[in-house]
């Protein structure tokens, strides 16, 4: 088995990152926001990126999704995606749940989820994935015919996550899923991410200001400060690190 598969492109060894970002730089006009950051996420890992407001976390995700222009290496699943348009990145299996959720307010919940499956054309598969999403977040089933804009913040976040999963991604990037949401729903969402998605082997890159919660559920983490990665380690190590405790855990 191993001999046969070593000749194929997929089998480049067990420690090949699914996402590899190297020397990523990004500027808004004159202001440079990212000064060349390196991030690696391995298959099945949950990796978080923490840092203060304005450190460049969301910018980094938008660069990887190819919404923002950037320079540097971005490789996903063994191939460069640095020159692809955003919709092609999704087709490769890398999907983002963006900051502020960006759901479609005047589409119904169901239509929002269908748009998540835009790149697919297998009707039966989409239908069964809709059911899976409704099982994951039952409240979405109750609200299936309601307009997305009428949902509460927490429900919208569930919709955004469900919508992203509808494309059957290989990897999910989540930007501030806890922002502006009631604490009880934050717990519910993090619980779903950890106990359902990770248990299913989903690879996740999580951006959070809520460093405590993020580090607790992460295998590894990066600390971003004014466009540079200043610290990296396992979630547990960073939770104990005095610099992290002083700056982000209070």
């Amino acid at each position: 088995m191993t001999i046969a598969s070593s000749t194929t492109a997929q089998a480049i060894g067990p420690r090949t990152p699914l996402l590899r970002v190297h020397g990523l730089k990004c500027s808004y006009g004159q202001a440079q926001v990212l000064h060349g950051i390196d991030i690696e996420v391995f298959p099945g890992e949950i990796v978080s990126m923490i840092g203060a407001n304005g450190a460049g976390k969301s910018t980094a995700l938008m660069c990887v999704s190819r919404i923002n222009r950037s320079s540097g290496t971005i490789e996903f699943d063994g191939a460069s995606i640095a020159a692809l348009p955003p919709e092609q990145v999704v087709r490769r299996g890398l999907v983002q749940v963006p900051e502020g959720r960006r759901i479609f307010p005047r589409l119904t919940v169901r239509e929002n989820l269908e748009m998540g499956a835009f790149i697919r054309s297998d009707k039966d598969g989409i239908e069964s994935d809709l059911e899976r999403t409704f099982n994951l977040f039952p409240i979405l089933k109750d609200r299936a015919l309601q307009q997305g804009g009428t949902l509460s913040g927490g429900e919208q976040q569930m919709l955004a996550i469900g919508r992203a999963l509808m494309s059957r991604p290989k990897m999910l990037m989540m930007d501030e899923p806890s922002m502006g949401i009631a604490p009880i729903l934050v717990a519910k969402i993090f619980d779903t991410v950890k106990n359902v998605l990770c248990a299913q082997g989903m690879t996740i890159l999580l951006v959070e200001q809520n460093a405590n919660a993020a580090l607790r559920m992460s295998d590894r983490a990066y600390v971003l400060e004014t466009g540079n990665i200043v610290l990296t380690g396992t979630g547990q190590d960073l939770l104990r690190d005095p610099r992290v405790r002083a700056a982000y855990l209070g």
Partner: protein, 348 residues
């Protein structure tokens, strides 16, 4: 210059339409007031459906990229010239029977394809490069596109073809052959429903139903709404935003193409300046209904058509533009979001 003025005068004169003649009869007491009202209503509804179809093109484009596409009316004008050229090339002057119906369908579909492709190309060349520029730059580009189309129409009208009077006066209005006779199809009381009234209904209504289906239920339609509501969100879902915008321009343009053929058959005159009038009516209709709102565009179009017709009949045709533009000013002052438009955009 002289010619242009003459053409404008001719146009103004031809605006004293059939409807105004009915109004004149009414004032002279030759028709009962009930019949006048119904006749004006029929004329108004027919024109209103045409205006509505053009207004949909404005409102779709506004909905998706927030641009008042001022070239849209002139696109319809070029569509009319295209249709006239095809009719001239086919050498028909009257359509009867199954062959006639085939010819009509061919001209309708051909003009729709022409206008759709032209609108797609205008977006590609004049609007897409300005996607990240200010909305004002986009608007100025649309006005520029409008000028180019008007001048193309002026040039086109000078081509040496029979239907263009062999190019003797490129600016002069051209007669559009009465391919579908305006003969009465039905008469109830003294109110006449002409075959062209019927034609308008048979073309516009199915198109509106089809468009509603497309926007509400198809994947492309949902993607169009998604792009309109959150383009970045749509992009992050794997939707090729530029392709969806291009499709929107194509669909809006082709509806304008259908509308312009019906308009030409109904009014039997085309001119390189007709785009201004068609565009303005449709733009006002779109604003009246609530720009960006599809049912609003249809409602606004029908209202503007009926209001025009009533003004023609009961005031005098020369007051009609004043009435219509007066309505535009009133909406913009008192209800800028239009009759069906959302009061405020939802914050996401």
């Amino acid at each position: 210059m002289q010619r242009t003025v003459a053409a404008a005068e001719f146009l103004a004169a031809s605006a004293l339409s059939q409807a105004d003649a009915v109004g004149a009869f009414a004032r002279d007491g030759l028709l009962s007031s009930q019949e006048v009202f119904t006749q004006q209503l029929v004329t108004g509804l027919s024109n209103g459906m045409i205006i509505a179809l053009i207004a949909i093109g404005y409102t779709m484009v506004y909905g998706i990229i927030e641009l008042i596409n001022f070239a849209h009316g002139d696109l319809c004008m070029l569509g009319a010239y295209f249709a006239l050229t095809v009719v001239g090339a086919l050498g028909v002057d009257h359509w009867v029977g199954a062959g006639g119906l085939m010819g009509l369908v061919m001209v309708l579909v051909g003009t729709a394809a022409f206008c759709g492709s032209l609108n797609w190309s205008i977006n590609r060349l004049a609007y897409r490069p300005l996607r990240k520029a200010s909305k004002l730059s986009l608007l100025v580009s649309a006005i520029g596109a409008s000028f180019i189309l008007v001048n193309l129409g002026l040039f086109w009208g000078g081509l040496p073809m029979d239907v263009f009077a062999n190019g003797t006066s490129s600016a002069a209005p051209k007669a559009f052959p009465a391919l579908v006779s305006a003969a009465p199809a039905a008469q109830i009381g003294d109110v006449i429903y002409s075959r062209t009234d019927l034609l308008v209904l048979c073309v516009t209504l199915p198109l509106m139903v089809a468009l509603t289906y497309l926007v509400r239920f198809t994947k492309l339609g949902k993607a169009m709404r998604a792009v309109a509501q959150n383009p970045t969100g749509a992009s992050l879902m794997g939707i090729d935003v530029e392709r969806v915008i291009g499709a929107t321009f194509f669909i809006g343009g082709s509806l304008g193409g259908f509308a312009t053929v019906v308009y030409s058959l109904y009014n039997q005159t085309v001119s390189f300046q007709m785009g201004y009038r068609m565009g303005m009516d449709a733009f006002i209709a779109a604003v009246l209904g609530g720009i960006g709102n599809l049912p609003g565009a249809v409602l606004g179009g029908i209202l503007i058509g009926v209001i025009r017709s009533m003004s023609d009949g009961y005031l005098e045709a020369r007051w009609t533009n004043t009435v219509v533009f007066g309505i535009l000013i009133l909406i913009l002052v008192f209800r800028p979001s239009g009759l069906l438009g959302a009061k405020l955009r939802e914050k996401v």
